[in-house]
């Protein structure tokens, strides 16, 4: 299609409002060529609006969207070198599988001859492992198969960017995981840019190489999945991406001591000075270790197990800590001395490495 060294997507100060409601404000974003970027955020955060502005279904109110370095303002969807896999797939119910897949090829001008169309459509179907399903009707296909038809339909046009709008939302968990791997593999093989919209942080983290976390119409963090998880820029990211314990605290005047609600003090070494005042201490459940309280065990907090969710090799515990509220702790069975699960109503002590904690101004 269009050859350009700047084969990517770029948002330049893009805002979009519907009347008085602002969906997206002042977005600046660059997607490098061949990247797999995930737009992640809760519903209403503006991620779908961004995707639709790339697809050409919405026009920015202000600012500019560029594809391959070309400004796209005013360019209708049918003239954009991108294709989309729609939420719930939006397959044409009156066409069979092959007709769905070949739809884009049939729109091409100059026309492509019928044999070539058929060849390429079947090639695309082979690619998504649906060879031989061409004559099936859409309603005869399972959800996962429909998903792959949608993928083939979008990819058959060899777009420079593939847009995916919650593509896996309608699939069951097992199928979803399989498709995650399949999508990732496909993206690597094809080498084209994928832009994925999802509200599922696990999906975003597992598939993409760049996560763009959005909230209330703005980008709050753009980073590699690991960085987003390990170094969230604010409590929203920490909370939305993965699970986190929120502990209210106050930073003392020295800039390194935290006073917690139960009056205990916590020293946070090895960091630049914190701004004194109220703060949030964020702790991942897996950053906390858990021990049965017996004579020898000592820890930072102690509490009583109120609830346990058994996850197989590990378990998730709710622990009521006096003066500090409920804590969520994930513990592998092997971490416990006897390899057994802690039972509800058992008294436990909690420990953590202060350097693993995140501290955000409240």
């Amino acid at each position: 299609m269009i050859s350009a060294s700047t084969n990517d997507i770029e948002f330049r100060s893009v805002s979009k409002s519907y009347g008085a409601v602002t969906a997206v404000s002042d977005i600046n974003l660059q997607v490098p060529k061949g990247a797999f970027v995930a737009l992640l955020g809760p519903s209403g955060c503006g991620k779908t609006t961004c995707l639709r502005m790339i697809g050409g279904f919405e026009q920015p109110t202000t600012g500019e969207v560029l594809i391959n370095g070309q400004p796209m303002n005013g360019v209708p969807a049918y003239r954009r070198p991108v294709n989309m896999v729609f939420q719930q797939y939006a397959l044409f119910p009156h066409f069979d599988v092959e007709q769905n897949v070949s739809y884009g090829l049939r729109q091409a001008r100059p026309r492509i001859n019928a044999r070539e169309i058929s060849r390429r459509a079947n090639e695309a179907l082979e690619m998504v492992r649906l060879g031989g399903f061409g004559k099936r009707r859409i309603h005869e296909m399972s959800g996962g198969q429909q998903q792959r038809v949608a993928l083939a339909r979008a990819l058959v046009n060899k777009p420079s960017v593939l847009l995916l709008d919650e593509p896996l939302a309608a699939l069951d968990k097992k199928l979803r995981t399989a498709m995650q791997i399949e999508l990732q593999t496909l993206q690597r093989e094809l080498g084209i840019t994928f832009v994925l919209v999802t509200h599922d942080q696990e999906e975003a983290l597992s598939m993409s190489d760049l996560v763009c976390v959005m909230n209330a119409g703005r980008i709050v963090q753009l980073a590699a999945p690991r960085d987003v998880y390990d170094h969230p820029t604010d409590f929203f990211v920490a909370d939305f991406v993965g699970k986190t314990n929120r502990i209210a605290a106050t930073v003392e005047a020295d800039g390194s001591t935290l006073r917690l609600a139960d009056g205990s003090a916590l020293s946070i070494p090895g960091r630049s000075a914190l701004k004194p005042g109220s703060a949030i201490l964020a702790l991942r459940p897996e950053a906390i270790s858990l021990h049965r309280q017996n004579g020898s065990a000592s820890g930072k907090f102690s509490g009583i197990v109120t609830h346990r969710i058994f996850l197989g090799s590990s378990a998730e515990y709710s622990i009521a800590v006096e003066g500090l509220g409920d804590f969520l702790v994930t513990a592998d069975r092997s971490d416990l001395a006897d390899g057994e699960l802690v039972e509800p109503n058992e008294r436990v002590v909690l420990n953590f490495d202060p350097s693993a904690a995140h501290i955000f101004p409240a």
Binding site: F57, A77, F86, Q88, A90, F92, Q107
Partner: protein, 288 residues
């Protein structure tokens, strides 16, 4: 227990369906049987019916072949013209109109039904008569334009009278149409016109077929509009029936024609359903 439940449920169903069945039986099946009986009878010397068993009435059908022919031409042509006018309206209402005003606009389509078609057709007689539209045309230089009592006036009356019946089913099917399919089409490179013919139109075909079937069937029995706006110079099956029942009182012959008309209607319906199924690729098509 399960059986008892089933029986109870069956009885409830029966109770709910019974009034409809009784209604259909009394007002559809019985009259049709009466019509069948009449159609093999003979006209009494002073008119009316006298019992007999003869197919003479059916053998006499060619005496109204012109009426059949006119009707079988008018009904599809009229409903196709209706379709051409109705589709853009339905499209506008379902796709383009602002949702704020949609309900208002849709109800405007239906409002004329609150007044009898008879009265509205009478109004058209004045509008199309020389003191109506031709008078306005005369003022801008088109002299002696005659509209009333022409086939054009009949067509206009038909389109006017049956438009809502065509608009509504098309509107419903367009409104149900998943907008993302249109976006998907555009996304795949289809220009709006191409999207319309590849996606919108095929997917609204159940509505189109419903509208066509509805209007065609009603037009097969139409007599009022040709009578009032066509000056009675064009003779349809409906007019033949009115004359046979209310004027010459040849009930058996009238019944034979009516039976034949019912057969034609059923035939038209079957063809319409066939086409709709074929296009939609499924048997889940609600036709009427």
């Amino acid at each position: 227990m399960a059986l008892a439940l089933n029986t109870k449920r069956g009885m409830v169903t029966a109770a709910l369906v019974a009034p409809a069945v009784a209604w259909l039986f009394i007002f559809l099946v019985l009259p049709f049987i009466a019509m069948l009986v009449f159609s093999v009878g003979e006209r009494a010397p002073e008119g009316g019916y006298q019992p007999a068993f003869t197919f003479a009435q059916f053998a006499n059908l060619p005496a109204r072949s012109a009426a059949f022919w006119n009707t079988l031409v008018l009904a599809p042509v009229g409903s196709l013209v209706c379709l051409v006018v109705a589709y853009p309206v339905a499209y506008y209402l379902a796709v383009r109109a602002s949702p704020r005003y949609r309900l208002l606009l849709v109800s405007l389509v239906v409002v004329p039904f609150w007044t009898s078609l008879l009265v509205r057709t009478y109004a058209w007689m004045y509008l199309l008569g020389s003191r109506g539209i031709p008078h306005l045309l005369d003022m801008i230089g088109f002299e002696d334009v005659r509209i009333l009592n022409t086939p054009g006036a009949v067509l206009l009356g038909i389109v006017y009278g049956y438009l809502p019946l065509m608009i509504m089913p098309i509107y419903v099917s367009l409104e149900k149409l998943d907008r993302r399919l249109l976006e998907a089409s555009a996304d795949l490179g289809a220009k709006p016109v191409s999207t319309f013919f590849s996606v919108t139109l095929p997917l609204s075909l159940p509505g189109v077929m419903t509208g066509l079937a509805l209007v065609t069937i009603l037009l097969l029995g139409e007599y009022l509009i040709p009578q009032l706006l066509g000056g009675g110079k064009v003779f349809f099956i409906g007019n033949a029936l009115v004359d046979l029942f209310l004027q010459s009182r040849n009930w058996p012959f009238g019944s034979a024609i009516a039976v034949t008309l019912v057969v034609v209607v059923v035939f038209v319906l079957l063809i319409a359903m066939r086409i709709a199924w074929k296009i939609a690729g499924t048997r889940q098509v609600d036709l009427v």
